[in-house]
Subunit: 257 residues, 5 copies
């Protein structure tokens, strides 16, 4: 569970409800027109923009991954892999079968090693899995960004439609208020969809994509080293050396000022 | 048929009609002024921006390609080419003549092989075809993007012209409503043309251009290998090895979470 | 004559006049205030932005080149050069003097060859000409783009000045209309100058710059090959091989779908 | 203490207060709605955008570093390191223990040298510290920039919410004023948060990040040279040679015009 | 004196005054509120954005350099250096002391040669001068661009503050005019500061930075060749060969169409 995504969304909803309830009732801010134009318009534009297969894979994967989190940092992952290397050295590859591994990708690799597949098969299969996963995660990121980019425009479209209807039927200017309020809701929905939901999620997915690429490459390298019966110390040292700077020191060592 | 483009457009039109009919009649949203300023202005700016020959080739090709789709993914294409290699090995190049090939580009290459042209001739002709096609597809993408970029500006121009006429003739403020509604239509048309039609189509064409470059390079390589009487297994293996990561695993294998 | 630039401008003017005349008279849209702020402001900012020499060379060259067009495509140019190589081989360099060459740059090179200048002299002179030309064309493109970028801002400046004067003198709100109409004209002028004239012309000049660099490099290479008495067939083959993909197949061969 | 950040903030507050007090009382510009929407919205979006750990490290480090300043320029740092080399040569590494070094990063390195750690240990430890520091500083910069990018959008959201409530409850247009004033405050808060605080701080942090990377690399190189008992003159010369151009002449030598 | 900067500014002021006087008196456009918010706000944000030392060096240097101009083009500079090489060959380095050299940077180099400093010293000193100069010019460019980027935002801040005060105190809508006029002045000031002054000056400084880098590199190379007693012809030829294309043909040779 990625706490900050959930916290952020919950906090955003609380903020919105507080604001709305401070100045009136919630119903004033619900409007089926605005809902149709924003969600309908963004859906239509996104359908045209991407192939169907990207949408089916990227959209739900992106949403799921924005809320879930790798249990370990790169550094902990290296320790975990070194532990597995220790087990493999003491008990042989068979021992890996009984090891409990939470990360599904690492677990899959361990099973391959325990089953005695050769290195090429393992590398090919895991790399295909990883490519497949990263392509879908990147598609997810692009879809959320595309929705975030067009939502404000459809907000404006909704408000314009509302204003055209309002002005065309205008007989008594003093009755414009409620119509204007409704027309503005579409712009509000568009701004919220873009700035509170889609663009932040696209940014988070982009960060996660970079992290997963590092971590899965790390896991593949580690698994192949375990298959070659490298010593746990060597596994740890080589994996740490491969880490890009950013991941080498993720733990909060005190920062010298 | 590219389902998502058609679906998206149809859905967009349904959304717009629903919104319009919920708040009044459709006629209120039809205005010849707004139509002239958006389509006339965008046409004028696009004519100045591009050479005539780009417009004639790129515009219709782009529209056609946004709605059509390659029948096979890269992976299926490799299988198809491997099948053709099988036929060529069993029946000789002559056998290719009778093979049914749906993709016109692949079919053309097969005919060349069946007719016994030499490798240089085949490569030159197919690469020229492919370059020609990709140049026109890229021009199409640029034209749709340029129209999408200038449409909102011409929407503003149309609204400004309407407002100038409205204010200049203003005698009774209470009669402003219908004029204002008409003036706003140009901005609405511009936003819809850009965000619902042109920019999404430009994005889709960009994605298709990348895919077609991969697929046609694949076909050319495959055809030349068949002409050199390579074994079907080798053809399949080498073509798969050439595929960029993204295309290697297009099929929806279950994504490891 | 570049048809599309002229057509686009003419069409843009027709569209504007139609719109204006449909809603009133033309005089309503002419305002000396708006004219001064847009053209004065854009001129002032452009003077500060560029050195005087760039403005003197780039501005008129850009305008001229947006409307003129190279008579031949790269492919035809290669044929023309091959014909000249044929003449040179049959009649000797002297024969080139009598050959009619429409392109002034090619003609200049031919005269150098006919006069028997050495290859270094010819290359240096023609490259200097070409650099000089491309630098000025690029300056022209940058100037039109800079004007197009600042014109909407000066449109806003003009409208703000008009609104400040209107509000400061406001006594009777019902008389605001005509003042407001005039104030909005500056924004209208700025949007038109940018989106109908300057930005499209800058884009077209950018495309022409890329084409001219290819064509003039082609001409220089061809002239030097003629001076070295290469055979026409070799000239044609080598020049075609040098062409970047895009220019190799400019002619509209049927596009395979 | 980085004078310009403090001065800028103080000056900004003075300017705002002056403006506000010239036209009324301060209370008119305080509004809990606007405060909630801007700070709540920006917090929610930032929580979604970044992982919690980046927020905890990057945010306070960025704020602290925007206001503090390295006491020395790169050039002075080279002198300081050369002085320490002098001490190390005269008194042995032990002498470094008593040397007073203000910069905590340099001090840490000196302690390592005095304690006789080997070069690899020193380099590894200091580089890990430096990477760690730079990653957090970069995260800080990105967080401030992300807040600055979304604050105006939440300002618009706040104003839209206010206007919807205002229009929905509108009975007497003449009483709209105070509601409108309150609604506009959110836009004002958003613009100030972005343009007066977050974006300038992000820019300053970006500049400091570049400087710190240079300076800490310089310190690590210098400490290792001192550990190798290089002569002070050589240390000075080599460190100056490593400096990128910009840092070589930071001192205000008269600029030739 | 860089004519175009001065001309542009003068022309811009004339345009503004004409517009203002055509529609009323100048006093209507002077407002201390707007002045404070634009200049105060931009100053505060710029102080936070840059270190004090950059501001002290870059700001005045940028302003000075926007208005001054190198007396010679690169081509003329080569001639001047070749003339000095001629003098040095005829009269020995001593002769350079009496040569009148207007360019202060070239003059400084000549003095070094006349005084018999060795090549390393001369190169080091001149390169340090040049780096120093270019760093400050680049800082100047960045400062003007940053001011130009934030000025419109502070214009909006000023207008928002004015509108909040206006709406909060609104009792009689018919008296809103003068308050609205004043509020809009801040937006007007911001747009003018950005589009008429800061952004064009930043663009001009960017162009000058590129030119000065070329010219000063040219001067340093030339001075070192003179110190090595190279022949004037060789100096001219080598310097011309070093020139980037753009500077080789600055003089207005007739452009072939």
């Amino acid at each position: 569970m990625d706490l900050s995504t959930g916290l952020g969304l919950a906090f955003g909803i609380v903020v919105l409800c507080t604001l709305i309830l401070m100045g009136g009732d919630l119903g004033m801010f619900l409007d089926v027109h605005a809902f149709i134009v924003i969600f309908g318009g963004a859906t239509a534009a996104t359908l045209i923009r991407f192939p169907l297969s990207s949408l089916f894979h990227g959209f739900p994967l992106g949403m799921r991954f924005a809320f879930t989190m790798r249990r370990w940092t790169s550094r902990e992952l290296v320790e975990e892999i070194a532990n597995l290397a220790e087990i493999a050295r003491k008990q042989g590859p068979i021992g890996l079968e009984k090891a409990e591994v939470e990360d599904t990708f690492l677990a899959k690799g361990m099973r391959y090693v325990a089953d005695g597949y050769d290195a090429d098969f393992i590398r090919n299969n895991l790399e295909r899995d990883m490519d497949n996963f990263c392509v879908h995660l990147d598609e997810g990121q692009k879809i959320y960004r595309a929705v975030g980019d067009c939502a404000p425009a459809f907000g404006m479209v909704g408000t314009l439609i509302g204003m055209v209807q309002m002005f065309a039927n205008m007989t008594d200017p003093s009755k414009l208020g409620p119509f204007m309020a409704t027309a503005l809701l579409a712009t509000l929905y568009g701004a919220l969809l873009a700035n509170l939901l889609c663009l932040p999620i696209a940014d988070k997915l982009h960060g996660k994509l970079l992290d997963e690429e590092t971590n899965r490459t790390l896991i593949i390298d580690g698994i192949l080293m375990i298959r070659d019966s490298k010593s746990p110390a060597l596994v740890r040292e080589m994996l740490l050396a491969y880490l890009p700077e950013k991941h080498r020191h993720e733990e909060g060592e005190p920062v010298p000022a």
